[in-house]
């Protein structure tokens, strides 16, 4: 036995009985601020508990900033275009013509039908998914070695490396993408450099092609791949690799049999973090892609600002969201499974 016996009463250890400053504040407010007292009483009557409040907070946030805007967009997507302000017909119309008095609800489905029948949109969706998938794969291929090297670097340099990954966020995304024009254009930095090296004899046409879009997306979203992967790889227990080696497994095989399966949650998180925004990307294809680079984000922009066709662009957005919800749900399932396994 070490140390003197603790003389505090046993009750002091009971959770919740400990008199903290919060408790004191509560007592003082109860005594001197009647509205506080009334509010608490009302809350208790309504079955509101502190715990419930804490849980309700994120839901409230989501409802206010996601659900309500989404419902507005959904509503517009079922309207018709008119030349007015706002440029769409109301969905609900209270009709009172002296004879009849009714609520007219007019859901215009033609917009959605046109998304399906008009090749342009289908191709734009497919192309967006294609570009997002390819860029995600490239980002993974580039990001994995970087994260791996970072996670295995000595402990002193890791924070610096992490800092370097996050550093680009200090500059506006738009400006960084813009800078790529200067690098990729025919007489840009890259071509000048390659010409100077003598690797090529005439400039490569990269800007305004899909290649430029891939480069832009991979560059812009690389940190979103690296961060979850790094967090995962850094946590890995390296004695597992020793155990694999001890059992006769060569390092390369151990990488595939131990490191990669254990990094799977990080890989999946990184891929979703890149794929989901890449599908709806507008800025990169607009600045770096060619006129034939069809992406749904760009299509939406054109419909909204070019054609002032709010219903179509809203419908495009709703369908895009539904397309994205599938991977998001898959992602959440995976996360739940991982959490289950990590217990």
């Amino acid at each position: 036995m070490s140390g003197p016996p603790d003389e505090r009463p046993a009750a002091a250890y009971l959770a919740g009985v400990l008199p903290g400053t919060g408790h004191l504040l509560h007592r003082r407010l109860m005594q001197s601020v009647p509205p506080y007292r009334w509010l608490l009483a009302a809350a208790r009557r309504l079955g509101v508990t502190p715990r419930g409040l804490v849980i309700a907070l994120p839901y409230g946030f989501l409802a206010a900033f996601f659900l309500v805007p989404f419902l507005i967009v959904l509503k517009i997507s079922f309207a018709e275009v008119v030349i007015a302000a706002p440029p769409y017909t109301p969905l609900f119309d209270l009709v009172d013509d002296g004879v009849d008095f009714y609520l007219s609800v007019k859901l215009n489905l033609a917009t959605y039908w046109s998304l399906w029948t008009n090749n342009l949109y289908v191709i734009a969706y497919l192309n967006s998914v294609k570009i997002a998938v390819i860029s995600t794969v490239i980002t993974l291929l580039v990001g994995f070695p970087i994260s791996y090297a970072m996670a295995r670097a000595s402990e002193e340099v890791r924070p610096t490396l992490l800092m370097l990954v996050i550093l680009p966020f200090w500059t506006s995304f738009l400006i960084r993408v813009y800078a790529w024009i200067g690098i990729l254009k025919n007489e840009g930095l890259l071509n000048s450099f390659l010409l100077w090296l003598g690797v090529i004899s005439k400039p490569l046409v990269i800007l305004n092609t899909d290649w430029a879009v891939y480069i832009g997306i991979v560059y812009s979203y690389l940190p979103f791949m690296i961060l979850p992967l790094y967090a995962n790889l850094e946590r890995m227990d390296l004695t597992l690799l020793e155990a694999a080696a001890d059992l006769g497994c060569r390092p390369i095989k151990a990488f595939w049999m131990v490191t990669v399966p254990l990094a799977m949650p990080g890989i999946i998180a990184g891929c979703f973090l890149v794929f989901i925004p890449a599908v709806g990307e507008f800025v990169i294809p607009d600045l770096l892609g060619g006129s034939d680079t069809l992406m749904i984000g760009k299509t939406m922009w054109v419909e909204f600002f070019g054609n002032r066709d709010w219903p179509v662009s809203s419908a495009v957005a709703v369908v895009l969201l539904l397309l994205l919800i599938v991977p998001i749900v898959l992602f959440q399932r995976q996360q739940a499974k991982v959490q289950e396994a990590a217990r």
């Binding site: 020793e242 155990a243 694999a244 080696a245 001890d246 059992l247 006769g248």
Partner: protein, 380 residues
């Protein structure tokens, strides 16, 4: 595999012609300026059950990791079966290790964990399945084959780790506290199985343990380590009966140490005077120290004879004191005796008869005496 003749004691370290299976030659390992393993030279022979004992942080795990190839010695050389291991990577060494932290693959089931090593050797599937099943039966985990490590208790995980390291039947098995988390019964069973496996396959075991009893039971030899050095390497009985230093004597089992000064150092005996014990001590073995040197006499508690009357005609090797506490353990009685010098001495006596005519009790004046061959003179 030639079976050793059970009548000939298994003592290859005494045979100058025997070839050691593992040789550590002046091996040192430092982490920065910290010396974890300090100039260790050691020979371990085939089929040995070699135990490493020592306090926490004395370098046992580091030593094993060097044998397995996860750490390279800062200086010195390791040979296994006559081959210098310095350029042999862990996955090519004929060695398996059971990790102190188990290092089970969290994404694989128990079965897959155990099968992992066999798969690396490209053994046919049905054979792998059979061996894994046997191994799981051995560690009594057959019904847990499909579970993931995180669904097991600590002891069960330990058994999976043991099974995984045993299943390849390596030439040498390094076990880092393999049985620590098992209950007594399972531990004894597993010890027995380890010895059985060794007999079947002729594995050389190097085992780290904190359990002295375990080390005493299973080992062919024990190395007691202290601060990265080896204090003594010897058979369990030698370590117990003839420790070479106070450190070893006190580390293994209970012991009473009397601070003394050598009065007479002859070829066949030593005579000492102890102020601790207030008596002369006679030991019938020679020591290297000359007369006048300081020395310590170690006497194990069970070597004492406890009596109420002074033993006849024996003034040497006898201390008198007052019983301060008695512990009754059923088969043994433990007497804690306080000597006039203030020193406390522990003596144990087997309870041979049911009741002595006058049992020794608290505050009795007792005499503790021991034979000339029972004490050990330690000069360091």
């Amino acid at each position: 595999m030639d079976k050793p003749n059970p009548r000939v004691p298994f003592e290859p370290w005494k045979d100058p012609g025997a070839k050691p299976y593992i040789r550590l030659i002046n091996v040192t390992k430092t982490f920065g300026s910290f010396v974890a393993v300090d100039n260790i030279s050691l020979d371990i022979y085939q089929r040995e059950f070699f135990s490493l004992l020592g306090p926490s942080g004395c370098g046992k795990t580091t030593l094993l990791r060097m044998l397995a190839g996860f750490e390279t010695p800062t200086a010195g050389r390791i040979e296994i079966d006559g081959t210098d291991m310095s350029s042999v990577p862990p996955y090519e060494r004929p060695v398996n290790m059971m990790f102190q932290s188990y290092a089970l693959f969290p994404h694989m089931t128990v079965e897959q964990n155990v099968a992992f090593g066999l798969k690396q050797d490209h053994i046919p599937r049905p054979q792998i399945a059979a061996r894994v099943e046997d191994m799981l039966a051995l560690v009594q985990l057959s019904s847990f084959a499909k579970r993931k490590p995180h669904q097991l208790s600590g002891g069960q995980r330990q058994r999976v780790a043991l099974a995984r390291s045993l299943v390849k039947k390596p030439k040498m098995l390094l076990l880092d506290e393999p049985l620590g988390a098992l209950d007594k019964k399972l531990r004894e069973q597993t010890q027995f199985e380890l010895m059985n496996i060794q007999e079947q396959v002729g594995i050389t075991f190097v085992i780290v343990t904190h359990d002295q009893e375990e080390a005493m039971t299973v080992s062919s030899r024990i190395a007691v380590m202290n601060h990265g050095r080896i204090a003594q390497v010897a058979t369990p009985s030698e370590i117990y009966e003839f420790p070479n230093s106070r450190y070893v004597a006190e580390f293994i089992g209970d012991v009473n140490v009397f601070e003394s000064r050598i009065v007479e150092s002859a070829a066949d005996h030593v005579l000492l005077r102890s102020e601790d014990a207030l008596c002369d001590i006679y030991v019938d073995r020679s020591v290297s120290a000359p007369a006048g040197a300081a020395a310590w006499v170690a006497v194990r508690p069970e070597k004492f004879h406890v009596s109420l009357a002074p033993p006849d005609g024996q003034a040497r090797n006898t201390v008198a004191g007052q019983v301060w506490d008695i512990g009754y353990l059923g088969n043994l009685s433990v007497y804690h005796v306080r000597l006039p010098s203030g020193k406390k001495v522990t003596a144990t006596q087997a309870n041979l008869t049911r009741l002595k005519e006058r049992p020794i009790t608290w505050d009795d004046q007792v005499y503790l005496s021991w034979a000339a061959d029972s004490g050990v003179v330690l000069v360091s």
